[in-house]
């Protein structure tokens, strides 16, 4: 019964989303205030019914209702309760419902927090969000129904959740990532609404900024969690594989990063308008491209769901309608928009424009690298693969000028900057960066002209420059301590996010250069030496978990004879799905990770073990966290909560 109720709730949500798409938009063109006023309750109703549908699905999972196909294929009665809940969005159907719920949630949030917006704009934004929701709910209802039953012949036991997804990282990763993906729909709707009205100004940019920032915040966290999960769960010790699905989340992130920077220019200087709108459209379009790539099965990936050509076709059609329609609107409206502001070649505007160029080039590289194999195959030239080396090489070239510009950017004034006043402070920053980089590497006794040195230099340049810039701004208020309390929250947000980027660059460069990996054959009592650490295999024994068996290995780690830590690595065999999973043992410190994963059993009671010492790998995720924290700080800025009321509302 509950599953049918869930389906009914989803159908109601669909009806409400259709109403939301039609009524306020119609009202906005015929200047009917009562129709515009309906947008808000409709948005709330759509959210409530989506929530009910999700709750029904979770209930079906918790009660082991194996008559529901989705439950039977992705859960089992032996699955721990928390994984039964997360299994509800572990499958294609369930994750689509989660996507719908998130979209409805964002729509409800917009409805709640847009009191300051003119009613007309409010109605249009919510109407466009309703249109997008209708597309996705229809997909969920007609193409991938999560509540479909297999009566009268249903299994007595489910097929269990994919063991890869039975991990804490997997509880957090999909909802956060989807919040990010779907969040860009809000910026998209704002951009379309503004295109319809033909009104762009810094007020519009100020309204969009917090929404774009919060979507970016979630997307950053989601990608970071995914990387952390892969590191712990896949057993290879890698944190980024340039897998097509990772790339699918990375592309909207790059476009979104460009968007939040471009929005800053539009808000502060009233220029870059058409560019900002284009980026807002692109960020969401790329989210849709990602959804299409993941769910259509056109690309081979560890993430791909069961493939169904019909679903892929639907998503492709939806993508084409959304992208084509918005570009058409953009083309017909944008030529009338003119920016008045003037700026010189050396100005913050130009530097931020450079930032955008680099980010979009990166986005283009990821896009081509991901899709090139697909085109190559469709053209009949044979199957190929483009892997890590290509992307690594391209990002190596891109990061150097990008980081150099990033260190410079915050120092440069809007409109026009004289070169001379910057030479001395930035010279000092450069010298300090050189000293820090060489100092760190000297303390590791490895000063060489390699990737690590380059990464340290760039990271130190960006980080020190960001800190020094805050001090400089603070000093302008009189004393530093007084100035530090007067600076905007968004200024701190920028500084923290930039430092996060510096930390990320250092982490990537150091761990790429100094990771030592050894695959060894060990019997109980054997000791392997890796990078100055002695790993002793003390015991291997059988495991008996709730839905898995397998083996566990115990290791003692010593450094120069001193006990460092004890490690516990597992190799699990999930009984229902009959798959083997590696649970690696990690001992984490800021300066290095010790990483051991248990491989296969070899003859003579020996085991294959993969032992890695990975310096600075924590910095990769720390950098991501700092970037997200930066976005949070920027969101806390007072100016986004100021009430702006515009009396001229009710005309189209």
């Amino acid at each position: 019964m509950i599953a049918e109720a869930g389906q009914l709730a989803l159908t109601f949500a669909f009806a409400l989303s259709l109403l939301l798409a039609i009524v306020p938009l119609y009202g906005s063109f015929t200047a009917r205030q009562n129709m515009l006023l309906l947008a808000k309750p409709l948005a709330f109703g759509q959210f409530i019914f989506s929530l009910l549908a999700m709750a029904a699905l979770v209930y079906a999972f918790r009660t082991n209702d194996f008559t529901v196909i989705n439950v039977a294929q992705n859960s089992s009665s032996t699955l721990p309760w928390y994984y039964q809940i997360t299994a509800s969005f572990g499958s294609h159907e369930g994750s689509m419902l989660l996507w719908v719920l998130m979209l409805a949630g964002w729509t409800a949030l917009v409805a709640q927090f847009s009191k300051a917006l003119p009613l007309l704009l409010q109605g249009r934004i919510l109407g466009i969000l309703g249109l997008i929701s209708a597309g996705f709910i229809a997909f969920s209802l007609f193409m991938s129904n999560p509540f479909a039953r297999s009566l009268p012949f249903y299994p007595v036991e489910g097929r269990d959740l994919n063991p890869l997804l039975q991990d804490f990282g997997m509880i957090m990763h999909p909802p956060t990532l989807y919040m990010g993906y779907v969040g860009f729909a809000v910026a998209f709707a704002f951009a379309l609404a503004a295109l319809i009205s033909g009104r762009f100004d810094s007020v519009w940019a100020r309204w969009v900024r917090p929404w774009a920032l919060s979507a970016w915040l979630f997307l950053t966290l989601g990608i970071m969690l995914g990387s952390w999960w892969a590191y712990n769960e896949l057993g290879w010790g890698g944190w980024w594989f340039w897998d097509p699905v990772e790339n699918a989340s990375f592309m909207p992130w790059l476009a979104g990063t460009a968007l939040i920077h471009s929005l800053a220019v539009t808000e502060k200087r009233g220029t870059f308008k058409s560019w900002t709108v284009l980026l807002a459209l692109a960020a969401f379009a790329l989210s849709l491209v990602g959804a299409f790539l993941v769910r259509s099965g056109v690309l081979v990936s560890v993430h791909s769901f069961a493939t169904d050509p019909g679903r892929g076709l639907y998503l492709l059609a939806f993508l084409l309608v959304v992208v084509g329609g918005s570009l058409l609107l953009y083309g017909s409206r944008m030529n009338s928009v003119r920016s008045q502001a003037r700026y010189q070649l050396f100005s913050r505007e130009m530097l931020l424009w450079g930032n955008n160029i680099f980010l979009l080039t990166a986005c283009l590289i990821v896009f081509l690298g991901t899709l090139f194999p697909l085109f190559h195959k469709e053209l009949g030239l044979g199957s190929i693969s483009i892997g890590e080396p290509f992307f690594n090489q391209m990002f190596y070239y891109l990061t150097i000028p990008f980081a150099l510009l990033l260190g410079l950017g915050p120092w440069v004034r809007w409109k026009q900057q004289q070169v001379l006043p910057l030479v001395r402070p930035l010279g000092l920053v450069a010298v300090a960066a050189l000293i820090v980089a060489l100092g760190v590497l000297a303390s590791m006794q490895s000063v060489q002209a390699n990737l690590a040195l380059l990464g340290m230099l760039l990271g130190a340049w960006v980080g020190i420059s960001a800190l020094a810039e805050v001090m400089l701004r603070a000093r302008q208020f009189g004393s530093v301590s007084k100035g530090l309390t007067k600076l905007n929250a968004s200024h701190y947000g920028m500084t923290v996010a930039h430092i996060g980027f510096a930390v990320l660059v250092i982490g990537v460069a150091m761990t790429k250069t100094y990771t030592i990996e050894r695959d060894v054959r060990m019997q109980e009592g054997d000791t392997a030496e890796v990078a100055g650490y002695q790993f002793t295999l003390t015991d291997v024994y059988d495991l008996n978990g709730p839905n898995y068996g397998g083996q566990a290995a115990e290791l003692d780690v010593r450094q120069n004879g001193n006990f460092v830590t004890h490690l516990h690595a597992e190799k699990r065999f999930y009984r229902i799905q009959r798959t083997v999973m590696t649970e690696s043992a990690v001992h984490a410190r800021l300066s290095r990770d010790l990483y051991v994963s248990l491989g296969e059993e070899l003859p003579d009671n020996a085991w294959a073990l993969r032992i890695q010492v990975k310096p600075f790998v924590r910095w990769v995720w720390l950098g991501g966290l700092l970037m997200a924290l930066g976005a949070l700080l920027a969101l806390a800025d007072k100016r986004y909560r100021r009430k702006i009321t515009d009396p001229g509302v009710s005309h189209a």
């Binding site: 994919n162 890869l164 057993g235 081979v300 560890v302 003037r342 070649l345 130009m350 160029i357 080039t361 283009l364 590289i365 081509l368 690298g369 090139f372 044979g382 199957s383 190929i384 693969s385 483009i386 892997g387 080396p389 290509f390 090489q393 391209m394 070239y397 891109l398 695959d519 060894v520 054959r521 015991d539 024994y541 059988d542 495991l543 008996n544 978990g545 709730p546 068996g549 397998g550 083996q551 566990a552 516990h568 190799k571 065999f573 009984r575 799905q577 009959r578 798959t579 083997v580 999973m581 590696t582 994963s597 491989g599 296969e600 070899l602 003859p603 003579d604 294959a608 073990l609 993969r610």
Partner: protein
């Protein structure tokens, strides 16, 4: 020219220069990093209409089914070798390291490596998907009409636990 036009021209030239540089670098990197995919029969008989055979020393990817009974391990190291097959000839793959969790005889896998001689590949990476029914799409395509034998039922290790950690 007016200063404003000059500025615009400079900006446009800058963009074009950057784009050209990026595209050139990308094509160069692509050329170095494309790995063609072969199945064992394509490797032996040649790929496509022209029957192009790879040359020893070439980096490539190969996908096929692990021939049951062909896996040989070196007793003192992690060296392992096995045969791959699709519809005809066998290709030998050598590898040193830990095989993926789902590597089994009879299972479809993809290996990336360097061609040593006409039918031997020294693999640097072996991939198997985390799905029992999985076969790489390229392999599935090359093997149309041939029955995929599911991996043999592996014995589970469900002996009682020595130490109660769970």
């Amino acid at each position: 020219m007016q200063p404003r036009r000059q500025k615009r021209l400079a900006a446009v030239i800058l963009v074009i220069a950057l784009l050209t540089g990026a595209v050139a670098a990308m094509l160069y990197a692509l050329q170095q990093n494309i790995d063609l995919f072969y199945t064992p029969s394509q490797l032996v008989e040649g790929l496509g209409k022209d029957k192009v055979k790879p040359v020893p020393g070439q980096r490539l990817r190969i996908g096929g089914m692990v021939v049951p009974g062909s896996v040989q391990r070196d007793p003192n190291s992690l060296k392992v070798s096995f045969d791959l097959v699709d519809t005809g000839p066998l290709v030998r793959v050598t590898y040193e390291g830990i095989l993926p969790d789902l590597f089994r005889e009879g299972q479809g896998i993809v290996a990336q490596g360097i061609l040593v001689d006409a039918t031997t590949i020294d693999a640097s990476e072996v991939l198997a998907k985390h799905d029992e029914e999985y076969m790489p799409p390229e392999v599935a395509e090359a093997m149309k009409g041939i029955k995929h034998v599911p991996p043999s039922q592996q014995t589970t290790s469900e002996a009682p636990v020595k130490e109660g950690r769970y």
